[in-house]
């Protein structure tokens, strides 16, 4: 299952996303939680301890390459396998959850 949780800022979407992830993980399902918000707060709701939170690193921008397809449309694609990216950049959260923070890429280079 691939679940996206959207809503207005302050609507509580992060609380719902984090608690949903924990609930799924507790029922024995492997879970990858992705914080795609530019103001990332998912770590707290998932219950990462501050020590672990400090391990969260920015995703380097060169993870994406521009490629132009046969249809002439240029898209951004991963330069590496997603599993490698998860293995390298995801941090451990309670109940065996792996968490990736995308929003921190915001700080890694000029726009």
């Amino acid at each position: 299952m691939r679940i996206a949780i959207a809503g207005k800022g302050g609507s509580g979407k992060t609380t719902i996303a984090g608690t949903l992830a924990r609930s799924l993980a507790r029922s024995g399902r492997p879970v990858l939680a992705i914080d795609a918000d530019s103001n990332p707060n998912l770590a707290t709701v998932l219950g990462l301890d501050p020590e672990r939170s400090r391990e969260i690193v920015d995703l380097p921008r060169d993870l994406l390459e521009k490629r132009t397809g046969e249809d002439g449309v240029t898209r951004s694609v991963f330069a590496a396998d997603p599993d490698e990216i998860v293995a390298e950049y995801a941090v451990d959260a309670p109940d065996g959850i792996r968490m990736l923070v995308m929003g921190t890429i915001h700080h890694s280079g000029a726009g």
């Binding site: 299952m1 691939r2 679940i3 996206a4 949780i5 959207a6 809503g7 207005k8 800022g9 302050g10 609507s11 509580g12 979407k13 992060t14 609380t15 719902i16 996303a17 984090g18 608690t19 949903l20 992830a21 609930s23 799924l24 507790r26 029922s27 399902r29 492997p30 879970v31 990858l32 939680a33 992705i34 795609a36 918000d37 530019s38 103001n39 998912l42 707290t44 709701v45 998932l46 219950g47 501050p50 995703l59 921008r61 993870l63 994406l64 951004s76 694609v77 991963f78 396998d81 997603p82 990216i85 309670p94 990736l100 995308m102 890429i105 915001h106 890694s108 280079g109 000029a110 726009g111």
Partner: protein, 145 residues
Amino acid sequence: MCRAHATVRGLVGELVSREEGDRDLVIDMEAGLEHLSRGTGRHVSTFLAVMEPYFRSMETARRAVTLARELDIGRVEVVANKVRDPEDREAIASFCASHDLPLLTAVPYDDSLIRSERHGSAPIDWDRDAPAVKAIRDLASSLTA
């Protein structure tokens, strides 16, 4: 649009589309709607729009549902949040009914969420039987049923 944000959207879309599927993905999306019109959520199987019981929030959730439906996502539903009383419940229910929005569940307003945050604790660790936590646990069960 800021290019850094465009990169984040590209990463999310790419990661989700190439995920092989033996684990659940739970994505806390960027607030707002712009990313949806650009297809960030395209590869998910379930899209939940969180809706608080006041007009601007309901309107944002309605637009999110409209955009998600255009992306051909299998399951697009509304989760009401911070519902305090029957009046809130009625506001959500009537808005959803009049705009043809599927309301999956209503998560109650819950002070324990504020207390858990103040103590730096996950809501589910602070009080797993708090009303809001219970509602979200039930939501997880219904999604996997």
